[in-house]
Symmetry: C2
Subunit: 273 residues, 2 copies
């Protein structure tokens, strides 16, 4: 079974996160995997170049995870070789007053990718059925209607020639503790630690329930979810590079035909002294 389909959630299925692995790298040859990751990042860079040249399709990659799962380092590793001109990363943080004065998708929609581009969402509209639900930021009457609204929104993007990939970085509670502890003790990582990380961790089970619902209800054929084992960085980066590569390969972008007839353009060029 290929890696991309192994971690893809079957549409229509009910997700129980406790049955999904947070570490799936036992017995796997790390050197071989890292060589494959390297090959994938190069392939992604080439495919992105054609996607950008062709300007027909776009790609939206949604990354969601508990704190310290490694979203930032994943972005750095998987997309480190692409031309930054064709890739936009948006980190959605606590909404501003202006953003809260609109519907929850208003600020999201402003950052969806234009044709030829890849957009990466570091957190996304899914926070509006995750933290908004767990922390009671809006009433149930309101957040419970958002799943259908999200499905409709994503359908609209797909209809506008955007390919959507949604990835949940599945981290174990034990591994999170190790990583938060590292953050606290390493001065080059400490700046990432937020007071909110502690209170979020204390609501772990509620978050798992909220993730399960979001992934189950919003896992459509046109915008599938992937659940990626995240405890080991090298394996996580490998799996995500496989998913992104497979997605770009399915688009199969090509350099476009010349806008001008090369021969007549050459003649015009020759006429300029």
């Amino acid at each position: 079974m290929n890696i991309e389909s192994k971690y893809r959630v079957e549409p229509g299925s009910e997700v129980d996160l406790s049955t999904w692995k947070t570490d799936d790298a036992d017995g796997v040859d790390r050197d071989q995997i890292e060589a494959q990751t390297e090959a994938n990042t190069l392939a992604i860079s080439e495919l992105q170049h054609k996607l950008y040249a062709q300007q027909q399709r776009s790609v939206l990659i949604v990354l969601q995870a508990m704190d310290a799962a490694g979203k930032d380092s994943t972005i750095r590793r998987v997309f480190g070789r692409v031309n930054p001109q064709g890739v936009q990363v948006t980190s959605f943080k606590r909404p501003t007053e202006d953003e809260r004065a609109h519907d929850f998708l208003w600020r999201i929609h402003q950052h969806t990718p234009r044709r030829g581009h890849i957009a990466i969402f570091n957190r996304s509209h899914y926070e509006d059925v995750l933290v908004a639900r767990v922390d009671d930021l809006v009433k149930k009457d309101r957040w419970s209607k958002r799943y259908d609204i999200i499905n409709g929104f994503e359908q609209g993007l797909v209809n506008g020639d955007t390919e959507i990939v949604k990835i949940y970085l599945h981290l174990s509670k034990d591994r999170q503790k190790q990583k938060l502890t590292q953050r606290l003790t390493d001065p080059t990582k400490n700046w990432k630690f937020e007071a909110g990380d502690i209170s979020t961790r204390s609501k772990w089970d509620q978050y798992m329930t909220a993730y399960q619902d979001a992934i189950s209800i919003c896992n459509t054929n046109h915008a599938p979810w992937y659940i990626v084992p995240t405890d080991r960085k090298w394996y996580r980066v490998f799996v995500i590079s496989e998913i992104v590569r497979a997605t770009l390969e399915s688009i199969n972008p090509q350099f476009p035909d010349p806008k001008l007839d090369p021969a007549s353009a050459m003649k015009l060029l020759e006429q300029i002294t």
Copy 2:
């Protein structure tokens, strides 16, 4: 003399582009230069990481050039190793109707970098004193006032903790012809060729005059111009990597102090089962 200051235009000087080299790599050891470029891109990536962590200062890099000078490939090479999360590239194309309905800096201002970020402008507000002037898109009465407006705008950005670097990729007319010919004959490059490239080339001298004025009048201590020899790619990429590295080193970003006391945060973390 170091590379960064060698190609920096002295504030207050009148620029004559014919006295600036488009190729300055004779007798230079290419292997040694490429190793230095590689070291620079790694250093830039590390410095960007700290800039991003500290969230105090931002950097705006303006790239201007005649067609086919290599702005795109320069961005790819110099910034290929930085985390795309902290770098935004904006390509300013022909203004939309909505953009033309505002003052010329309106669309530009929306893309200036937030604290901790690097923004790269692939073309910029300088087009409003270049193509706008050469092609008579606005009257002289209007474009001639824009230089002072640009200086004021850039002063405002600097006052908001943005470091500005402006780079003119200085390409010879002969080399442009070679590169445009390559574009026409190479199917992986042909998509970059625009009908406008020919008409722009036919106004080469007018563009040189417009560039000279823009660089001379808008070359301030707070937002200097660099004129980079561009005919050879490996040397151009090297010089720009030197400039960017020197700029980031002058900012000297540092990982910030912990937001929380690590010891008390650790205690709170231990209390969560």
